[in-house]
């Protein structure tokens, strides 16, 4: 579903990604862990072209991100195409980023109406059932600032699901939450993986979630993939010194 080959990305003179190689298979849940500043968020943002990569190849569902390849030549995609591809990838942010001027329902129905040109009534019906799925059927009319952090993040997940994405990216979805609210968000994500068979790439510090729900675990440091494998194996028996050091700090 996602294939990265030697992906490089720099901000000015700072090289943040220094050759990322990995592959995410359909229906796989991949968890990415690593110290702060290792480039995890940057890599996620490259997958839906919020950042442009400088070198290497990155493709989603067999199509290059941001480019079209004809012969040996790459052509940049026009904005419209980039938007269409982004609409097929859901993203959930650490800070929720709900639209504060819209109710929960409007947050979820907005993109289907405006981007997919769905009728308002269909989109709202769909939004209601999504809110029900994430356990917030009674919060239809609530504005984001009337919701707790955990509730906001669940609305944000529903908002991403409303576009019926084939891939979901999560960037530390529980890091901004109070400890007692983490569980409710992880439960929704677990249900996504188990019931819908959603392909997911999850940057997280929740090792319990990674072990239990993840199909693979990737440890990133300094802009490269240091170690990857089955979550249980990596967590129980890390092969690299840096992985061992990191795990000893977070576990």
């Amino acid at each position: 579903m996602v294939k990265a080959e030697a992906v490089h990305k720099s901000f000015g003179r700072l090289e943040v990604l220094r050759g990322i190689d990995l592959e995410v298979y359909p229906k796989e849940v991949m968890c990415i862990i690593g110290p702060s500043g290792s480039g995890k968020s940057t890599f996620l943002r490259c997958i839906n072209h919020l950042e442009k990569i400088d070198a290497g190849r990155l493709s989603v569902d067999g199509e290059l991100v941001g480019y079209r390849e004809r012969g040996n030549q790459l052509y940049e995609l026009p904005d419209r195409e980039i938007c269409r591809k982004r609409s097929e990838i859901g993203m959930v942010f650490q800070r929720f980023n709900l639209f504060p001027h819209m109710t929960a329902l409007e947050n979820i129905a907005e993109a289907p109406i405006q981007v997919k040109k769905m009728s308002r009534s269909t989109a709202e019906a769909q939004a209601r059932s999504l809110l029900e799925r994430v356990g917030l059927a009674d919060k239809v009319k609530a504005y984001p600032n009337q919701l707790s952090g955990g509730q906001q993040q669940r609305v944000a997940i529903a908002r991403a699901l409303a576009m019926e994405p084939k891939l979901m990216l999560f960037d530390e979805p529980t890091s901004a939450l109070d400890p007692e609210l983490v569980g409710e968000v992880l439960d929704v994500m677990r249900a996504l993986a188990n019931d819908l068979g959603m392909t997911m790439v999850v940057v997280t510090h929740e090792m319990g979630f990674a072990r239990e729900v993840g199909d693979s675990l990737v440890f990133m440091d300094g802009g490269v993939v240091v170690e990857a494998g089955k979550p249980r194996e990596v967590l129980a028996n890390p092969q690299h010194e840096r992985t061992r050091q990191f795990l000893s700090k977070v576990l």
């Binding site: 938007c83 942010f93 329902l105 993109a111 600032n145």
Partner: protein
């Protein structure tokens, strides 16, 4: 403060006696009140009893036909100039933030030019354009004329004033709107982009509505300012309120009386705008505060009914009807 269950440690059901203390006295408040009242009374007295002052004339002109017609023209000028200013200002602000350098530069130049020259000069320019360009024509390169008209027919005095006021206002509004747009957190744009929204859609549905909270107060200010600046249409002989005041007082020398009449009307109109602004701000504040601020009327009512009663306890959060701007 709501009285909760007794804290552990304090005997159940026993509440300490309410505090009885002698309030601090503020003698200077009383002194300053007396001084202010005395000065105001004196000023009013001087005007009312001024020997050359004819209050009858003020009363007579206040609802005079010419004055009322002038007010209508002033309002037309204000509304049209602000509409041009806001619409063009939004366009210029969006252009200014465009990744396309040519587009951004055009906007920069527009703002530089129209903000850098006096609005009086701009009105004068449009008003006198016919003296150098008697005809305006639009033709395609092949030589076929699409459109042709005399400049004087095309730009009436009223149009000249609208162009001068509106184009100038757009330059100021562009900066106000730009400040609003950059006040919206970048995460909002990212979340919207991640949903597949195009740049224009993100701007229209996500960023602009949130920027309104920052844009509306200075825009209200600009509108009030425009109401008065529109009196510059005087140089293009547009018969608005100030022009009328001038014309009448030139004929009968009731200069101060007419100035008072005009001031009363300008004050009345700006007061109405101030109230309007309050409600517009309230609308765009939805979603930013848990409870909307009370309207003055609601506050007044609450003051009457809760006078001396304990302050109201936080009730359930009122949910707003869903609205689309």
């Amino acid at each position: 403060m709501p009285v909760g269950p007794p804290l552990p440690g304090s005997p159940a059901g026993l509440r300490p006696e309410a505090i009885k203390a002698i309030p601090v006295r503020h003698p200077w408040r009383w002194v300053s009140t007396v001084v202010v009242v005395a000065i105001v009374a004196e000023v009013i007295y001087i005007f009312v009893t001024a020997p050359g002052m004819s209050w009858g004339a003020v009363q007579q002109y206040l609802f005079g036909r010419l004055i009322l017609q002038g007010i209508v023209v002033t309002l037309e000028l204000t509304v049209l100039a602000m509409v041009i200013g806001v619409v063009l200002g939004v366009v210029m602000a969006v252009m200014r933030l465009s990744p396309n350098p040519v587009v951004s530069w055009v906007s920069w130049f527009y703002i530089w030019f129209f903000r850098g020259t006096p609005v009086l000069v701009q009105i004068f320019f449009w008003y006198n354009l016919a003296s150098i360009l008697p005809h305006i024509a639009l033709s395609i390169p092949g030589g076929h004329v699409l459109f042709h008209a005399s400049t004087n027919d095309l730009i009436s005095p009223f149009t000249a004033a609208i162009l001068g006021l509106g184009l100038n206002e757009a330059a100021y509004m562009a900066e106000i709107v730009r400040a609003g747009l950059i006040s919206v957190e970048h995460g909002q744009t990212e979340a919207a982009q991640a949903l597949g929204m195009t740049r224009l859609l993100v701007m229209r549905r996500i960023v602009l509505p949130q920027a309104m909270r920052v844009i509306v107060p200075p825009t209200g200010n600009e509108t009030i300012s425009m109401l008065k600046t529109s009196s510059l249409a005087f140089v293009a002989t547009v018969p608005e309120l100030f022009t009328r005041q001038e014309q009448i007082s030139n004929a009968n020398f009731d200069v101060i009386e007419l100035a008072i009449v005009a001031s009363i009307w300008y004050l009345a109109m700006t007061s109405i705008l101030t109230v309007g602004q309050y409600y517009v701000e309230r609308y765009f504040a939805r979603g930013t505060q848990r409870e909307l601020p009370l309207t003055p009327l609601q506050r007044f009512r609450r003051m009457l009914f809760t006078f001396h009663a304990p302050p109201p306890q936080a009730g359930p959060v009122p949910s707003l009807p869903s609205q689309h701007p």
